[in-house]
């Protein structure tokens, strides 16, 4: 199966458990962590690309849910405010995944969110703050 982008939220009681280790070891899933914010005794938050054999993928997710992890598919992520964007193009040489690129010869800046890895670099680079971030409702 092709990788799916998901968002995990860990209640503060379980952030110290090696849950990701079990996804790899017990369910043979492939993990690419895109973003993580996990601190002792605080709610943890992680965005990842997950792939593996379909049956095991579902089993892995239900394992996480049983542990108390809230699992959601990734929605929104990085968006571009088309009204604000001036198509200057400065983001395009910084974006590491090619999600922001210039269509030639029109020189229009295109945002292909299927390529976005939500690294967030464009958020600070965009000179007119046209890039906005929200990960499953979080700013």
């Amino acid at each position: 199966m092709s990788p799916k982008k998901i968002v995990l939220r860990f209640p503060s009681q379980i952030v110290d458990k090696p849950l990701i280790y079990h996804l790899v070891k017990d369910y043979e899933l492939m993990i690419n962590v895109l973003k993580a914010n996990v601190n002792p005794d605080k709610e943890g938050f992680m965005v990842m690309e997950l792939s593996g054999e379909p049956g095991k993928y579902e089993q892995g997710l239900s394992f996480l849910r049983k542990q108390g992890v809230v699992v959601e598919s990734l929605s929104e992520g990085i968006t571009r405010n088309v009204e604000k964007c001036t198509h200057c193009g400065m983001c395009t040489s910084i974006c590491p995944s090619g999600a922001l690129y210039i269509s030639r010869p029109s020189m229009e800046v295109i945002f292909d969110d299927s390529k976005c890895v939500i690294c967030g670099v464009c958020l600070k680079i965009c000179p007119v703050k046209a890039i906005e971030a929200s990960v499953n409702g979080r700013q």
């Binding site: 001036t86 198509h87 200057c88 193009g89 400065m90 983001c91 395009t92 040489s93 910084i94 210039i102 030639r104 010869p105 029109s106 020189m107 229009e108 600070k124 680079i125 000179p127 007119v128 703050k129």
Partner: protein, 401 residues
């Protein structure tokens, strides 16, 4: 050799709806198809445009007097200081100005989320801005403090006066060091990981009139979505810079100072802009009509991206230390292809001025002229050109005389 056209003849054609206007992009294809001579006879005006960050920009204000009166010694607009070393309730807000307590680069690279350029954009967008002023009290101006809220409509005058805009050509910035750097040309990746350029190339005003034959003091222009004028040559105007055979400078050269009524302008063409690790500025939309006075002017306006070259400059060492060294030159056609070669390495490029908006400005100006809403302003004086003998000076450190 050829024919001549005057400003008044062209203006007469604008008034009678007979004027032929094309953009600096459209004229290229026409010349390829029909040749210089035919197109020069057909076309009266070529419109240009540019939309990029222009740091030497700002606005003069007269706020009106409160009762009792005040001589404003300090002024803040949304917390951003304005310069008050002029008459009592006048001030100049520079677009690079930052709020008093901005963290600047203390946590490098600083974000510089708000500043003078953003205040100007907010005002033009019709937003209410917090206004604070303090005075030291004089017999004629006794008041010492005022705190209120203003909009652009509330002030007596507000005019944009930008001392240096529309740079004729510019550096292509790269970073040869081994760490990321944050500059006014954007974030530059180590090991020449990217190259940033900032010009509309074939659409850019001064690249279409390289010797300033028609762009002079009094030229009427599109400025920030309103009508403006060329007021003077810009600061750092360097008309004697090296030029190619086509007369086009091969690096930064001429500049213009421009002025216009802020109250007519539109927020989409005056954008507060933040450069990570550097500061704030204003992205300004400028469009200039070039009258085709003769074949030479048409030839100038037909300049193509492949005929305009820009120097590649290292911003990690050579630029900050003013070594004058360049890493070669590239054409705007190469820059716009997305990849250039620097020291044998393929380097991805990115613009920091918007070509698509430059095109929109040139189009907007074309339609205003065709609709009879915009007449040409004949310069009352030309800008210093390539024969002026001007050379740029650096600042020397001297002992007290």
């Amino acid at each position: 050799m050829g024919f001549k056209r005057t400003y008044s003849e062209i203006n007469e054609k604008i008034k009678t709806g007979k004027v032929v206007v094309v953009t600096a992009e459209e004229v290229i294809g026409m010349v390829e198809e029909k040749g210089i001579e035919n197109v020069a006879r057909e076309v009266d005006i070529v419109t240009t445009g540019t939309f990029g960050p222009m740091c030497s920009s700002g606005a003069f204000f007269n706020f009106g007097h409160p009762k009792p009166r005040i001589k404003m010694h300090k002024v803040w607009m949304n917390g951003v200081p304005a310069y008050t070393g002029i008459a009592a309730v006048d001030a100049y807000l520079g677009c690079n100005e930052l709020p008093e307590h901005d963290p600047l680069n203390s946590n490098h690279p600083g974000e510089f989320r708000y500043g003078g350029g953003h205040v100007i954009e907010d005002l033009v967008a019709g937003k209410t801005v917090k206004f604070e002023a303090s005075g030291y009290g004089t017999d004629c101006y006794p008041r010492r403090k005022i705190e209120t809220y203003i909009t652009l409509e509330d002030v007596n005058e507000a005019f944009l006066f930008n001392p240096r805009n529309a740079y004729q050509n510019y550096n292509v910035a790269v970073n040869v060091s081994d760490k990321m750097i944050y500059t006014y040309m954007g974030a530059l990746k180590p090991g020449v990981g990217n190259a940033h350029y900032c010009s509309a190339g074939q659409l850019s005003p001064l690249l279409n009139d390289p010797l300033y034959r028609t762009i002079g003091i009094g030229t009427r222009i599109f400025l920030g979505g309103g009508t403006g004028y060329v007021a003077w040559n810009g600061t750092q105007h360097n008309p004697c810079a090296a030029r190619g055979e086509n007369g086009v400078p091969t690096g930064g050269a001429g500049t213009i100072a421009v002025v216009g009524d802020l109250k007519q302008m539109k927020p989409q063409w005056l954008r507060g802009t933040s450069f990570l690790g550097y500061g704030v500025t204003l992205t300004v939309g400028i469009g200039i009509p070039i009258p085709i006075l003769d074949e030479e002017m048409l030839k100038f306006t037909a300049v193509k991206d492949e005929d305009i070259v820009a120097p590649v400059v290292d911003y990690s060492y050579d630029y900050p230390n003013a070594t004058g060294k360049t890493l070669g030159s590239v054409t705007y056609a190469q820059l716009k292809s997305g990849v250039i070669e620097v020291n044998g390495k393929a380097v991805p490029t990115a613009p920091i001025s918007s070509y698509i908006k430059a095109r929109e400005i040139a189009d907007t100006l074309k339609h205003s002229i065709t609709a009879g809403e915009f007449l040409l302003g004949e310069p009352v004086q030309n800008l210093p050109s390539a024969d002026s003998g001007i050379s740029l000076k650096g600042l020397q450190e001297k002992k007290a005389p």
